[in-house]
Amino acid sequence: MNFEPTDDRRMLGDSLNRYLGDRWGFEAWKRVAASDAGHDPAIWAGLVELGAVGALFTEESGGFAGGAFDIHAVFHALGRNLVVEPFLGTLLAGRVLAAEGGHETMLASMIDGSEIVTAAFYEPQGRYDIADVTTRAVRDGEGWVLDGAKSVVPSLGLAGTVLVSARIDGDATATDGIGLFLVPSDAAGVEIRDYGLIDGGRGGDLTLRGVRLDAGSRVGGAAHAAIEDAVAAGIVALAAEAVGAMGFCRDATLDYLRTRVQFGMPIGKFQALQHRMATLAIEIEQASSAAINAAAALDQPRHARERAISAAKFTIGRVGALVAEESIHLHGGIGMTWELPLPHYAKRLIMIDHMLGDEDHHLGRYIALGAAA
């Protein structure tokens, strides 16, 4: 039993944190968050150079690590530093491509940073359900024609290619009958609506109208399991990112409590605030454990994996909201201002709950998985 990261992972995390500490920061965040691209090519290139993308994938897929705790290490650093680059979409799409095989060229371009690929698994009517797919893929000779809409796709505007789930067969919410397709963002019939997100990142809505794809665009076969696996990895990532952000919020709030003076003493001397802060610290440790449990379960058989994944996302959602709300509140008015990094971390924590299934979604899923055991 050893909860210390391996030397490789520690070095990776350290180098990312050092690089981001030097080249990224709150001023950069404000600049990038306000920009139309919502992305800083130089930072992206720098992180790619340091292996932040390569670490997400195994050697046989063209990366150099790819374990759950590698993903954890990368996203923890991203969370701690409030990075808004297109890592999540890269992980979701790349994970599927790596698992299905045969996409070495695209993966290599993703890992060397020259190509951005994202994943569109969710639809407007489907909320957080990956099986609720009404986008249709219909055979067209050797190829396919896709029609439908995908909602809030991460980093959509940056992506040259989008991995899209579409229904080939079956009822609207059946787990069977879903296929995955690589859709070039400049294909005829593809409409991309790119927009800013309230946490400073970018997302987009994707509309597909009679988009013709060749036979090679289909990735793998029955896709539900592959999507579920990618989402599991995505949740390992978001959980680690959230824990990184929570650590920032805790430290920033402690700093404020130690230095802000009211009624003649630092407000951190007031017992009511001390006890709330103690509760927050306990909850953050619990969230950290949940993120570790999820990472440890990623290579387990499906049932154990998905239980731990849903438990972690539920925990991150619950604790994330608490940390966000308490850190703002304990800062008082200053915690409400754009000029402080803290509230932007808080927004990110809240928005992580709106990605890949929220607290209630995963609590229900955890229960359903338990009943099915």
């Binding site: 809030v152 927004k347 809240i350």
Partner: protein, 397 residues
């Protein structure tokens, strides 16, 4: 025990409803109900409509232009206004300064300022908080030094809500730096056009400009603008903070917000069914609905006691704490209800003139921003910790 309003009160309620239905402009209601930004003109238009009816300053004595309402009538008016989608009345002149001038102002001050509050000639803002004095308001440091027939004011105020629109600011300033902290404070009325005043916007976490910093550099303020006695300003400040709390729980506003939430949750789908049928979401919704129903009665009990002449206790602090908690929870559930579409944020979409197609459902645009903005409710107006300390004191702890 009689929980219903009297026939007279019911008649009054009907009168208020008719008035609101007839006079409240549709374009303002639409903005309020869809979470769009209100302009200065919107506020002024609404104030003028109320003033024309004599209903703007609902808690002023009749001799100064108040309507002569009971606390119950004031509650009914606030409640019905919120339900009808009226904006909240900008409180700084009408609700805050007015009562202070009426109680402590000179005849000249009353004669000059009160009519100008009513007719909108002066937009007032509040100069209480400073960067170093939040919950500990009495530690304020902005100084006013007497120089002939003027005070010379230097210092900085912050969290000045809508100060960017203001013609006048009422300020707490330190006139005796040697006295104990509550004892050297005076209450000054300052023209915002005075040389030496600079207003700088504070952008909040949602990207909005609602609050400001106000800097004072050698600003000369006529001695005639002192309210009451020099160094007694703390008394007036406390009076202001506790005077008007009929609507502190914001029940009407929360009911309107809950209605909106219920509509949204009914339209959002989970597994093909309305989100309101999801047991977890339904439980969240029911819990807050029940808590709000309980608070509505708690609020009426406090009002009824006040109407029967009971002395004020810690009740307004209780209503403030629970009222803001409820409102924050409603905001939080509205955000949750949206699912993935809580993420997109296009600031321009909050302008009424914006013609762009909505991202996701048409009700989505303001929801997350409003959730974040409402985090202020437990901080401002005497933080909920300050209120809990007041309650504990009243309980003899």
């Amino acid at each position: 025990m009689e929980l219903n309003f009297t026939p007279d009160e019911e008649a009054f309620r009907a009168e208020v409803r008719t008035f609101l239905a007839e006079k409240l402009p549709r374009h303002i209601v639409d903005k309020v109900n869809s979470g769009k930004r209100l302009t200065k003109q919107d506020h002024e238009e609404f104030h003028a409509i109320l003033n024309a009816r004599g209903w703007l300053a609902s808690h002023w004595p009749e001799q100064y232009g108040g309507p002569g309402w009971s606390v119950v009538q004031r509650y009914i008016f606030d409640y019905e206004s919120a339900l009808a989608g009226a904006p909240r009345i900008v409180p700084f002149g009408v609700s805050m300064l007015g009562p202070v001038l009426i109680k402590y102002g000179t005849e000249a001050q009353k004669a000059h300022y009160l009519p100008r509050i009513l007719d909108g000639s002066d937009w007032w803002c509040q100069g209480y908080s400073e960067p170093g004095s939040g919950s500990d308001l009495a530690s304020l440091r902005t100084s006013a030094v007497r120089d002939g027939d003027a005070y010379v004011v230097n210092g900085q105020k912050t969290w000045t809500t809508l100060g960017q629109h203001a013609d006048m600011i009422f300020c707490l300033v330190r006139t005796d730096p040697k006295a104990k902290k509550q004892e050297g404070i005076s209450f000054l009325l300052i023209d915002m056009k005075s040389p030496g005043i600079e207003v700088r916007p504070i952008i909040t976490l949602d990207g909005e400009h609602e609050v400001n910093e106000v800097f004072f550099t050698d600003v000369r303020v006529p001695v005639a603008n002192l309210v009451g006695e020099e160094n007694k300003g703390w008394t007036y400040a406390k009076y202001l903070l506790t005077y008007e709390r009929t609507n502190i729980a914001g029940v009407g506003g929360s009911i309107a917000a809950l209605d909106w939430l219920r509509q949204i949750a009914g339209k959002q789908k989970k597994s093909g069914r309305p989100l309101t049928e999801d047991p977890f979401f339904a439980a969240r919704l029911a819990r807050i609905e029940i808590d709000l129903d309980n608070m509505k009665t708690t609020n009426l009990r406090v009002l009824a006691a006040a109407a029967h002449g009971a002395p004020a206790g810690p009740e307004s602090s209780m209503l403030k704490v629970r009222g803001t908690e409820i409102r924050q929870e409603i905001s939080s559930l509205t955000r949750r209800a949206l699912g993935p579409y809580a993420q997109p944020f296009v600031s321009e979409a909050l302008d009424a003139e914006h013609n762009g197609e909505s991202i996701g459902p048409d009700y989505a645009a303001p929801v997350a921003a409003e959730y974040f903005n409402n985090r202020k409710l437990s901080i401002f107006g005497g933080s909920n910790e300050i209120q809990r300390t007041i309650i504990a004191g009243a309980l003899g702890l």
